[in-house]
């Protein structure tokens, strides 16, 4: 596979809810191979900043620009280049894991073997024909990871990736991240120091309003 270079640039991002300013003047720029953790206390806007960076939410100020090999990626194309795991993104509960994957990747289907291998690795293979509603929270988290990474996205967003996972589950993710990190941009919102430690950089969303 030809390696592509992505770049994401966030310029003076600001967001408020009503009269409360969540954050302001956020700048960063990441290229393929780099990773960043967004940390901060609950309610500091970690998830919001992650959504804004993924262009799933609109900032009140500033903008986020994506480039691939120096060329700007339009909003429309963008979603085929990113993968995201977040408590706000749920697969269909009524569908089985396989049906969810088929729906999510109906335009380009990842090779059957590849899907099976990845399911096996995440311990989901034997549950592939169960409706997601019957999954435990840990299994659901693994499925979300599977869906987010199956298309080998160039940019990966993880919002609290380790939540609801046991140590084996966490180990699977961390090994996977170590493996793919050189080829992707990794952006993570987390409160766990182990996870934040996986990233080279971090942004702290604190209470200072300077």
């Amino acid at each position: 596979m030809v390696k592509q270079t992505y770049q994401v640039t966030a310029d003076t991002i600001g967001k408020r809810f009503g009269n409360v300013v969540l954050f302001r003047n956020i700048h960063f720029s990441l290229v393929t191979g780099q990773s960043m953790a967004i940390t901060g206390p609950n309610g500091s806007g970690k998830s919001t900043l992650l959504s804004i960076t993924a262009k799933l939410a609109t900032p009140d100020r500033g903008k986020v620009v994506y480039q691939r090999d120096q060329k700007i990626i339009g909003r429309r194309e963008l979603f085929s280049h990113i993968g995201m795991v977040s408590p706000d993104i749920m697969p269909y509960r009524e569908l089985t894991a396989i049906e969810n994957i088929r729906f999510a990747f109906n335009t380009f289907t990842p090779a059957e073997d590849h899907v099976h291998d990845r399911m096996e690795a995440l311990g989901l293979y034997s549950h592939r024909h169960k409706p997601v509603a019957q999954y435990s929270t840990g299994m659901l988290q693994r499925l979300k990871l599977l869906v987010a990474t199956l298309g080998t996205p160039g940019i990966l967003f993880l919002d609290e990736p380790g939540s609801n996972l046991d140590t084996t589950g966490k180990d699977i993710i961390y090994t996977y991240l170590d493996q793919v990190r050189p080829d992707i941009i990794l952006c993570m919102a987390t409160n766990e120091s182990t996870e934040a430690g996986l990233c080279e950089r971090s942004i702290y969303l604190g209470t200072d309003h300077s």
């Binding site: 408020r16 809810f17 009503g18 009269n19 300013v21 609109t58 009140d60 309003h209």
Partner: protein
């Protein structure tokens, strides 16, 4: 300044129109003295439609103008709709008073009554939507989209209802077949009144927009302090 100009002309014209409507214009032949409500009912209805068109066009521009080249379009749309709703209610009230006096009942599902009622319902729906989204950052986009969408259905209504229900409405102004069949004095009074009410609307509208802009500036100042 435009605002002061509108205001001063309005202050001169409005009393003139009122005097003309009550003292100078002759009463209509069959309708009698009740016909004097014409000089208020028709202009108010016209303003309601004008406000609706302004809010519709502002909404459309707001959705189309993603780079914010125009200023405060979302406020323009919202305040025009708000004024439109008020004038719409006045139209219905003055109209049904007149209807009671001349046709015998307040509401007859006359085509004009139906279309103003639909306009009223669209405004009510718009404000229901608007108030349901107090905390929603996408409020302006969604409310504008609704207004633009609803606006598309209005011509269909105007086109279709008269074919199903016959009209009782006197049609002295917009009339395809016949010419204007009004006494010249009545005509002049009506024109005066239309202009006065249009100015009245513009006066209130610009005043509200100025207040809205000030409020927004205060909010922004407040945020900068935080």
């Amino acid at each position: 300044m435009v605002y002061t100009l509108i205001m001063s002309i309005f202050y001169v014209l409005m009393p003139v129109s009122i005097v003309l409507a009550f003292l100078w214009a002759p009463p209509a032949e069959i309708l009698g003295e009740t016909s004097r409500i014409l000089y208020f009912h028709v202009p108010v209805a016209w303003v309601a439609v004008l406000a609706f068109v302004i809010s519709g066009i502002s909404s459309l521009l707001y959705l189309w103008d993603r780079n914010n080249r125009f200023f405060i379009l979302e406020l323009k749309a919202y305040h025009a709709a708000r004024m439109g709703l008020v004038f719409c209610v006045i139209t219905v009230i003055t109209g049904s008073m007149w209807a009671k006096a001349s046709w015998g009942s307040y509401w007859n599902w006359d085509p004009r009554q139906s279309s103003i009622m639909v306009l009223f319902l669209i405004y009510v729906a718009y404000f229901s939507l608007y108030s349901a989204m107090r905390e929603n950052s996408r409020r302006d986009v969604l409310a504008s989209a609704y207004l633009v969408f609803a606006m598309v259905t209005v011509p269909f209504l105007v086109f279709v209802i008269p074919r199903i229900y016959p009209s009782l409405h006197p049609d002295p102004i917009i009339n395809a077949q016949r010419k204007i069949n009004m006494d010249p004095a009545m005509q002049l009074t009506l024109i005066f009144s239309m202009i006065s009410f249009t100015l009245f609307f513009l006066y209130l509208y610009t005043l509200q927009l100025r207040a809205a802009i000030l409020q927004r500036r205060i909010e922004e100042r407040h945020h900068e302090k935080l």
